[in-house]
Point group: C2
Chain length 261, copies 2
């Protein structure tokens, strides 16, 4: 299985503290060593870093830990291969363009017998169940809406699409188009919202603390979504199975949704 | 204007020597300081690095110069903005997926009054003439062929498409799908083929030499395509205006084509 990390904020924020703890799970505190990737939105632009080396030793991950890339929407993934060989084209996150926006997707789980009909557009490059599911979601989104819909409409459509894929297995995913970040869980996903008054946080996976109060303004809002809690002293809310939540400007907008599986 | 660098090889090759000289043009020996980018194919997978800082000082470019990423198809671009603001979404190379392959495109030049009709798929994310031209090429390729055609067929279609865009201005571009690299010139592009017996090369833009003989095998073939010659002591062949050439396994397959403009 894999692990996911997402960040959604109202002001461009440095993800290095959270990524540092998360990357420990790729070899030190976890065995997610079959590649990794991270995508940072900067307005509509995107930086995507993928590597088939483990995140804990990869030179590219080292760059991420040292170079403060500030972003309002980040999706990261460390991989423990279950389907597909360890190669660059199988590293999450995956990216496609739709309606003139970049869409980024990362998945934790395993989908059995999910072989939807994919038309000419949105074909997988690699051979994972995850990229196939992403291509199908993009295809169905493009069929459902003529142009970029509102976040509310997208959330509605994505909730329907996720419910159609979820019965095929474990379908924890993060998706963002740079405006919002959607998160769906069947087994393992939790989130925390960091806002004023900021406090000190201590990583669960390595001996590192940060005092957010000294690095933020009172208006900053940051939501972190992750497979398992990253810190010891923050409040983490666990997703219920079947829940899809949307995060905008560092806030979880979704009321608890009916459990669907 | 911008500058382009492409590499096409028969065995995964380290582009650091050529990129090092090329990056000097982003601030030291040239004024191409409005962002840069580089894409490396690894089989069907892709690493894309873009940055709106100048390549000569960017931490990401520093990583590229230090981390030996070996690839058979590389496209790099340093930007001097003529259309579109300096932002990440306007940094070349651009990427789209078609027929389950990544396609990478970078452009040097300026297209006037090129506003083709773009259908739902392949919409630009940024606001450059270059990405618009790329989206149109992808759209027309997907209309011309039901699935991935042979390199020969692609070359034929691309030659027609390039000839339709070129009258709008300056249209030097590099395009690759990881199998082949296509290069089209209207004003400035040249190439060299490195093969056995390898010799020493000396960069034109900085005081750096490399002895390729010590880093290669007799079977290696490497083609370098660039806006202006990178080295002082290699033979560079200049494209004629209107020429589209295709490079496969480190060899230029194209006979000189008729001059079209």
């Amino acid at each position: 299985m894999c692990q996911l990390l997402g960040m959604n904020c109202n002001t461009p924020t440095d993800v290095r503290f959270s990524f540092s703890g998360f990357a420990q799970r790729a070899g030190n505190t976890g065995d997610h060593t079959d590649g990794w990737g991270i995508a940072f939105f900067e307005e509509k632009g995107l930086r995507l870093f993928v590597d088939h080396q483990r995140a804990v030793t990869s030179p590219v991950a080292q760059l991420i830990r040292e170079y403060p890339i500030k972003s309002c929407n980040v999706i990261a993934h460390i991989r423990k291969a279950t389907q597909g060989v360890t190669s660059l084209q199988n590293c999450h996150p995956f990216v496609r363009e739709l309606w003139g926006r970049n869409w980024v997707f990362a998945h934790n789980g395993d989908l059995k017998q999910f072989a939807p009909k994919l038309h000419a557009h949105f074909q997988p490059v690699g051979d994972t169940d995850s990229e196939r599911a992403f291509c199908w979601i993009m295809q169905e989104l493009s069929k459902s809406h003529a142009g970029l819909p509102s976040i509310q409409e997208l959330t509605h459509t994505l909730r329907e699409l996720a419910a159609r894929i979820a019965p095929h297995g474990t379908f924890n995913f993060l998706l963002s188009n740079g405006e919002a970040l959607w998160a769906h869980a069947t087994t393992a996903l939790c989130y925390t919202e960091r806002r004023y008054p900021f406090t000190q946080a201590h990583l669960a996976d390595e001996d590192l603390s940060v005092d957010f109060a000294s690095e933020t303004t009172p208006n900053d809002k940051v939501a972190i979504i992750v497979t398992a809690p990253l810190t010891k002293n923050e409040e983490w809310t666990h997703f219920r199975s079947g829940e899809l939540k949307v995060f905008v400007d560092g806030v979880c907008l979704s009321p608890p949704s009916p459990v669907q599986s």
